[in-house]
């Protein structure tokens, strides 16, 4: 099992892996415009990691991904999210300071149905990114830790 699954699965995984990553990042980045957001996109990216893990086995990821690195990234994501909450603390915690301010992501959107303005939403896109980073690394870290831990038991 440590060497992963059959050649068919591995080939398909190589094809799908990149697509899943791109789609996940798309969902994260357009969270304030289209269905989805940080959690959903992060889960998509994490499922790409999981797919890779299933196809290539615990040995296949050795050297590429370690859950220590992922955990550190997750903490960075969590801290960024918390910091975005603190940004508005002059008014109140979680105050959306950037919305409609004209600066970064400070654009306003036309009312009613429209084609979507990317540079809008205030702290929303930033939070989406923070949460996306957090979720993708967090779930991947859990999956890797569980897989590596469970495999260790089998080989012993």
């Amino acid at each position: 099992m440590n060497t992963g699954m059959s050649i068919i699965v591995r080939t398909i995984t190589r094809l799908v892996y990149a697509l899943a990553l791109v789609f996940g990042f798309y969902v994260i980045m357009h969270g304030h415009l289209t269905p989805g957001g940080g959690f959903q996109g992060g889960a998509v990216v994490a499922s790409a990691f999981a797919l890779y893990l299933v196809a290539f086995g615990a040995a296949g990821i050795k050297g590429h991904l370690s859950h220590h690195l992922l955990q550190t990234l997750e903490e960075v994501g969590a801290l960024a999210f918390l910091a975005l909450g603190f940004v508005g603390v002059g008014t109140a915690f979680f105050y959306n300071l950037l919305a409609n301010s004209g600066g970064v992501f400070g654009g306003s959107v036309p009312l009613g149905p429209n084609a979507g303005v990317f540079n809008a939403g205030g702290t929303l896109p930033l939070m989406n990114w923070a949460v996306g980073l957090k979720v993708m690394t967090g779930i991947a870290a859990v999956v890797i830790a569980m897989l590596v831990g469970a495999r260790k038991e089998e080989t012993e």
Binding site: L33, P35, F39, P113, N114, G116, V142, G149, E153
Partner: protein, 116 residues
């Protein structure tokens, strides 16, 4: 009983099924599945709460003009509850891995502390 309530009944059935699995199954993994079923039922219930007949998703990007939109709050709540469900399931399965490591079985009857 009114037939329009069917989605609520389905959600309740899922919850009941989950509780049944939780109470009467003897395998730890099946217990986790039972809990997940209850979670699914509750999530389904939350989502159905927000539905408005003939409503569209509450997103303005390329939305058709002048349509009713469904309520956004239940969807946000469901998102939260799904993530919480994921977290609990991950932790439960990790515990199951360790119990299997110690006892070599997932049968509740053979695991001393869980009998009560």
């Amino acid at each position: 009983m009114n037939i329009g309530n069917l989605p609520f009944v389905v959600a309740a059935l899922l919850v009941v099924l989950g509780i049944y699995t939780f109470l009467f199954k003897r395998n730890l993994i099946k217990l986790v599945i039972g809990i997940s079923l209850v979670e699914t039922g509750v999530n389904l219930f939350l989502v159905t709460l927000g539905y408005r007949t003939a409503g569209i998703a509450p997103i303005y990007t390329f939305a058709p003009e002048a349509e009713r939109m469904v309520l956004p709050t239940p969807q946000a709540l469901t998102l939260t509850s799904i993530v919480i469900g994921l977290a609990t399931t991950a932790l439960l399965l990790s515990f199951a891995v360790f119990i299997h490591r110690h006892y070599g079985t997932l049968d509740v009857r053979k695991v001393k502390e869980l009998q009560g």
